[in-house]
Symmetry: C2
Subunit: 231 residues, 2 copies
């Protein structure tokens, strides 16, 4: 019989340097874009994610909100952790451990701070390895959760057309969706309600504006779906 360990919890504290690295995502010119800041001269890369160490009496999401607000002027409304990284990957501030946090916000015409810029996810500049990993994880997390929580609505303003909404889903899922199916599923979900406003977008028929207003669903629990596995 194998030896069983005894008294295993001799836990010791160790002080490490910690960073909160923020991935702000927003639709920008028909693509999902991430907010980067110009890195100080002397570093190996010219751009980095906004980041900072959390302050003493501040939660991690709180720190992320502060960090994002420093670049954007206002904080995004939605934050979610995408994972902690503590392996050897290089971080711009040489933090031992990074907490990656993704923030979602609607497209905006407001420009970010002078030394910040939006980059499409598909055309990122060179980033520190840890930042590249965090961006990839953020994109993966958002894409995986998009049909388990109303993430997509965080990328839209308070009112939007159904075509806008479908466009965001197509961005997130990287594939085209069928209009009729999309709307039928949306209808059945009681997630949105129409406003009495319409938007004319130049050519074509004006579209009705909707708002996100989820009603309680009847608990029609479905069976197990084995076909949703990611890999």
């Amino acid at each position: 019989m194998r030896e069983r360990p005894t008294s295993p919890m001799k836990a010791a504290v160790r002080r490490v340097t910690l960073a909160v690295d923020v991935v702000v995502l927003s639709p920008r010119a028909e693509a999902l874009a991430v907010l980067l800041v110009r890195a100080p001269a002397g570093g190996r890369e010219r751009w980095s994610l906004p980041w900072d160490a959390p302050r003493a009496d501040e939660g991690l999401e709180e720190a992320a909100a502060r960090i994002a607000a420093a670049v954007l002027g206002t904080a995004p409304a939605f934050f979610e952790q995408v994972g902690a990284i503590g392996d050897g990957k290089r971080h711009p501030g040489d933090a031992d451990v990074s907490i990656g946090i993704v923030a979602l916000m609607p497209a905006s015409d407001e420009p970010p701070a002078a030394d910040a810029e939006w980059f499409p996810l598909s055309a990122l500049p060179s980033l520190a390895p840890r930042h590249r990993t965090i961006v990839e994880r953020a994109a993966t997390v958002v894409r995986q959760r998009v049909d388990q929580s109303p993430l997509a609505f965080r990328l839209l303003p308070a009112t939007f057309t159904l075509s806008d909404l479908q466009g965001v889903y197509e961005l997130l899922l990287s594939r085209r969706l069928h209009k009729a199916s999309f709307r039928r599923a949306l209808q059945a979900s009681y997630l949105v309600e129409p406003t009495d406003e319409w938007r004319s977008e130049g050519r074509g028929r004006p579209a009705q504006l909707f708002r996100f207003a989820p009603r309680k669903r009847r608990g029609a629990r479905r069976g197990v779906r084995f076909d949703l596995f990611s890999e």
Copy 2:
């Protein structure tokens, strides 16, 4: 026009104490159970999650494997982060920030270390507030991902009956499933393959043993499902 900030990244390092807190889950007597260790006398609680500070050249999952192995003798095969907590909640070692990591393992007859014990999730003893939060998050994460990744198979031995598998899903989802539907969906997913062994469990007809052997699926992508939102 609002003032735009300039040069926002004046990031400063700060040293904090960090803990990796591990939630080992395993089916145990018809319920999902978590592994707890007896806390040293003098603390406010008598039990805690296994935890430690990560070592210098060790990734976070690696630390979790080491911590779990110290209690179990061998490390579970599957680990996944469930989130970092850095707010004021009390931690047994007073760590500033905790990384919560969930580990899954099959039911085992091997007893854990002398000062460790399995507790059903529904009957936990008093835990430090941060540990209680981490256990709740772990359970939530596992239950939410169960139909996006083959988590359930991590709670079973290498070969298992389809009734075993259905039982694990029922544990994770906290509801009964219909046998015929479950098997039809499983069949269509090409996730398991039959072995030529059968297991007789006392009464009733013997059951064929299967193993987890996912084949690549034809990419029949479905539309958006709005009815899977968690809350």
